[in-house]
Symmetry: C2
Subunit: 151 residues, 2 copies
DNA sequence: GCGCGATTTGAATACCAGTATCATTTAGAT
DNA sequence: ATCTAAATGATACTGGTATTCAAATCGCGC
C-alpha cells in the first residue's frame, strides 16, 4: 500500500518526502473521503510529527498531481480521496463514508444532452452522489457507526 | 417580485420580518448565485441597515424552508440561489453567474442507472454544472464583466 | 389600537478551516 | 560530502460563519 503511493508520487516527479509519503499512503489506505484535519490526526498517530500546514500543502499537491480529488463537505470543509486513476465522479456512502467510483461514461450522455438542449458548455461538474451503499443497505451489521451530520 | 417573496415566506409559516423579506426579495430578483456577504452588501444599499448575522441566519432559514438552495463556491464560501419551485440542479455560468435550472427528469435516468448497477441508493446529489451559457458563449457583448476568480 | 410573550435582531465576539510568512531543515543532483 | 532549491513547522493571521445576549419587534388575543 505504501509502495503504491510511493510509486505514484515518484512518477509525478515531485519531491519525495516522508511527510508526503505518509499522507498519501494513509489516504490511499482508507478508501474513504477524509478531511485534511482528520488526515492530520491519523498521520500524526503513526508518523512522529507533522505540521498542519504541511498536510494542507501536501493535499493540494496531490490534487494538482491528479493523485487525489477534493470534495466539498457541508460546512465548508474539504475532503479528499485517493484517486490515482484519473478524474471521475463518486458515490459516497453517508453511513460508512466509503467511496465508489462512477465511470465518466455513465455521465457523458447527460453532459451532452445539456449542451444540446441548453446551449451550455459544461466545463466542470460536481457530480457526487450521496446515499447508502449496498453493504450498509443490506443489514448494516459490520458497518462503523454513522458520523453525526455536520449541520 | 417582492410580493412573490413575501407570499412564499408567509406560506412556510415562519415569522415575517422586514429583514427576511428584504433578503428574500433581493435574492429572488437577481436570478444569480450570490454569496452571503454579497447579499449583505446589496441588502444594505436598499434597506437601511441589517446585521451580518441576520443575513446568515435568514439564509439558513430560506434553505431549510426550501425557498433557497446552497451551493459551494470554491474557497469554502456558500452561495445561494432563490429556488422556490423545488428545482434541484443547476447550470451555473462562470462568466455571468446566471443560474439556469436543470429539470429533475433529465437526471432521473442517471440516478436509476446508478441504483441498478451499483446497488447504491441515491439520497442526494450535488449536480451542478459549471460552464458557459449560450449568451456568454456567443460573443459575450452585453455580458456583465466576469468576476475575478475566487482563488 | 394595546399589551404581552416568544421570536428575532444586531453588536460583539468566538470559532475554525485554511493560508501566509519565514527561519530552519532536507531531498536529491553533482 | 557539498550545495541549492524546495519543503517543513511554528506561529500569526484571515475571512467566512456561528454563538451569545441584551434590546427590539412581530403578531396574536383582547
Amino acid at each position: 500500500m505504501i509502495e503504491t503511493a510511493q510509486l505514484a508520487l515518484q512518477q509525478t516527479g515531485i519531491r519525495l518526502t516522508p511527510q508526503r509519503l505518509a499522507i498519501a499512503s494513509v489516504l490511499a489506505q482508507t478508501g474513504k473521503e477524509t478531511s485534511a484535519l482528520e488526515l492530520y490526526e491519523r498521520v500524526r498517530r503513526r508518523h512522529a510529527y507533522i505540521g498542519r500546514a504541511t498536510v494542507f500543502r501536501s493535499l493540494d499537491m496531490l490534487v494538482t498531481a491528479g493523485l487525489a480529488q477534493r470534495l466539498e463537505r457541508p460546512g465548508h470543509v474539504s475532503a479528499y480521496i485517493w484517486c490515482e486513476a484519473g478524474h471521475h465522479h463518486h458515490l459516497i456512502c453517508t453511513t460508512c463514508r466509503t467511496v465508489e467510483d462512477l465511470d465518466e461514461d455513465a455521465v457523458a450522455p447527460l453532459a451532452e444532452a445539456i449542451a444540446r438542449e441548453h446551449g451550455f458548455r459544461v466545463d466542470h461538474a460536481t457530480l457526487d452522489f450521496y446515499g447508502e451503499c449496498r453493504t450498509c443497505a443490506s443489514g448494516n451489521a459490520g458497518a462503523p457507526p454513522a458520523r453525526r451530520p455536520t449541520r
